[in-house]
């Protein structure tokens, strides 16, 4: 596509990606008062960021209502940085608070942000690590879309018998493999910090490992065939289609019916795709996630286009030789 050869487009894509990564790491996370209390009582987390609207200030601190409309009183103690003097009524504050078990009230630790443009939800058990949702999940989604596109091009090749489609299929699968590796790496680092080890053989981890094996076999098959270029391309296309039959089972079915560390395993309610057909994910996080999906999709198309052009040149050189 001509679009991917225009420098202006590529600069825009790069800047948009940089902004997206900045947003993913800079946006404050704001939970509710009940999050702060639960996490402190379970001993998971002492200090929790809470997003709340200022109702009134008094001598010992201030009264807030959080995003679920629950009231809470936050006290200024000797461990607090700053106070509420300079803020007006109805200001939205992201404040990190420590739950005071004895007094059943909250102690201010610091004011994180005043009237933020947006906040991400506090996901209990993930906290700051939840930001990776904007990288890891879109990468896995784009990997699936890439394999789907590769399979469609393989079918087109078998129907039209035009080598251009074969090059597209190869390029899409190669770029899909790259995104699978990226999703594996981001997921593995995430697992290290939230589950304790880089690799747990969780059903989804097993699935993505097998996905890597499938497409490694796809690229290996081509080099081992002793056939004409036409037959090689046909056999590779057939394997691509057969392999894609098992991809939905690996990515969507098996992780949902077996026990999993990932959300949605073993028949539990997944935040995005679930049996009740409702999205429980916070709106802001979901919207930013779709922005990530679109940006990564453009990156995928750019890589695919580049690789297609390389393959086209190689074919041309082989023809001339």
């Amino acid at each position: 596509m001509r679009l991917f050869r225009s420098n202006i487009f590529l600069w825009c894509l790069g800047i948009a990606l940089a902004i997206q990564v900045y947003i993913a790491f800079e946006t404050p996370i704001g939970g509710s008062f009940s999050d702060a209390a639960t996490l402190a009582m379970n001993g998971m987390q002492d200090v929790t960021p809470v997003k709340a609207t200022l109702v009134s200030t008094d001598s010992s601190g201030a009264t807030f209502t959080d995003l679920y409309g629950q009231p809470g009183h936050v006290q200024i103690t000797n461990r607090s940085y700053g106070s509420f003097q300079s803020y007006k009524k109805r200001d939205v504050l992201v404040i990190s608070v420590a739950y005071n078990l004895a007094a059943k009230s909250f102690d201010l630790v610091e004011v994180v942000r005043v009237n933020p443009m947006m906040t991400f939800p506090m996901i209990q058990g993930l906290g700051e690590l939840g930001r990776n949702i904007l990288l890891h999940v879109p990468m896995a989604m784009v990997a699936f879309i890439a394999f789907l596109i590769g399979t469609i091009y393989s079918i087109m090749f078998l129907i039209k018998k035009d080598f251009e489609y074969d090059r597209h299929a190869r390029a899409a699968s190669a770029a899909g493999l790259l995104f699978t590796i990226l999703a594996t790496v981001t997921g593995s680092i995430w697992a290290r910090f939230s589950w304790g080890t880089f690799w747990n053989w969780d059903p989804r981890e097993t699935s993505i490992f097998i996905l890597l094996l499938i497409y490694a076999a796809y690229f290996m098959l081509r080099s081992l065939l002793e056939e004409s270029e036409d037959k090689k391309a046909r056999i590779a296309a057939v394997y691509n289609i057969i392999a894609f039959v098992s991809v939905p089972f690996l990515m969507f079915v098996v992780p949902r019916i077996t026990q999993s560390l990932h959300p949605g395993g073993g028949g539990t309610e997944a935040p995005v795709v679930n049996l009740s057909g409702q999205t429980h994910t916070d709106r802001t996080l979901l919207n930013m996630h779709w922005v990530s999906v679109v940006l990564f999709l453009f990156v995928f198309l750019w890589i695919k286009d580049m690789y297609t052009r390389i393959l086209r040149l190689e074919a041309k050189r082989a023809e001339e030789a």
């Binding site: 098959l221 081992l224 065939l225 046909r234 056999i235 039959v245 089972f249 077996t258």
Partner: protein
């Protein structure tokens, strides 16, 4: 030779009765696998999860040794061209598929017999209905995938190593579902409730694979 799939099947069966290569290879493979397991786990209590993994490892690699032959042998004997002339693509596929299915079912049944005989203490199937159902569905899936992949690689170099490498990742959803269903059938007397999801995966996988190989076979069979 008749031109339908029955003719292809009859030809393969006749060759098999002359040489008995497929059956004996498969039975020898199973016996060696069972012997290795027996020698390496003397006196061990094998849990149902380990038992189901062992039986499916034996079945998968047994299938890879036995079923890979179907199209490779045609190329090796130089009879592939003749088969192309005599029979249509779909009758070759259906004939070979039924032959491989028969071989695979024989492999599965003999594996169960060997396991019942040699692991009498640990191999206690609590729900035979679900056990046979998932075993048959797993056999159908393995036969379908290895038939089409065997046709795919029949003229590649390194054939022996290539088939398991291509087939294992494609068959993995099936292996995950069957090992889970086998474990449940070994563990609980009324396994249907637990294994229902696995059985549904197996049925949909089998149907999808047979349909895809039926549609795609002509593409690789014709020169």
């Amino acid at each position: 030779m008749t031109n339908g799939w029955a003719g292809v099947l009859r030809k393969d069966l006749r060759i098999e009765f002359r040489t008995r290569y497929g059956v004996s290879a498969v039975v020898m493979f199973l016996l060696i696998t069972v012997a290795v397991i027996l020698y390496s786990t003397p006196g061990e209590q094998l849990q149902p999860s380990i038992m189901s993994a062992l039986i499916w490892i034996a079945l998968f690699f047994g299938a890879m040794t036995g079923l890979a032959r179907s199209f490779v042998s045609e190329e090796e004997r130089g009879t592939a061209l003749l088969l192309r002339l005599y029979a249509s693509g779909e009758s070759v596929l259906i004939g070979k598929l039924i032959y491989n299915l028969g071989l695979m079912l024989m492999l599965a049944v003999s594996a169960v017999v060997f396991f019942l005989f040699f692991f009498a203490r640990d191999f206690n199937v609590r729900d035979w209905g679900v056990f046979w159902l998932q075993l048959m569905l797993g056999a159908v899936g393995i036969a379908a995938v290895s038939t089409i992949l065997s046709a795919l690689i029949s003229r590649a170099s390194q054939k022996g190593a290539l088939l398991p490498i291509l087939a294992l990742p494609v068959l993995m959803p099936l292996v995950i579902a069957t090992t889970d269903a086998t474990r449940i059938a070994l563990e609980v007397p009324n396994a249907w409730a637990g294994a229902r999801g696995d059985i549904l995966i197996l049925i949909s996988f089998d149907v999808a694979m047979i349909l895809v190989s039926y549609v795609l076979f002509d593409v690789i069979w014709k020169d």
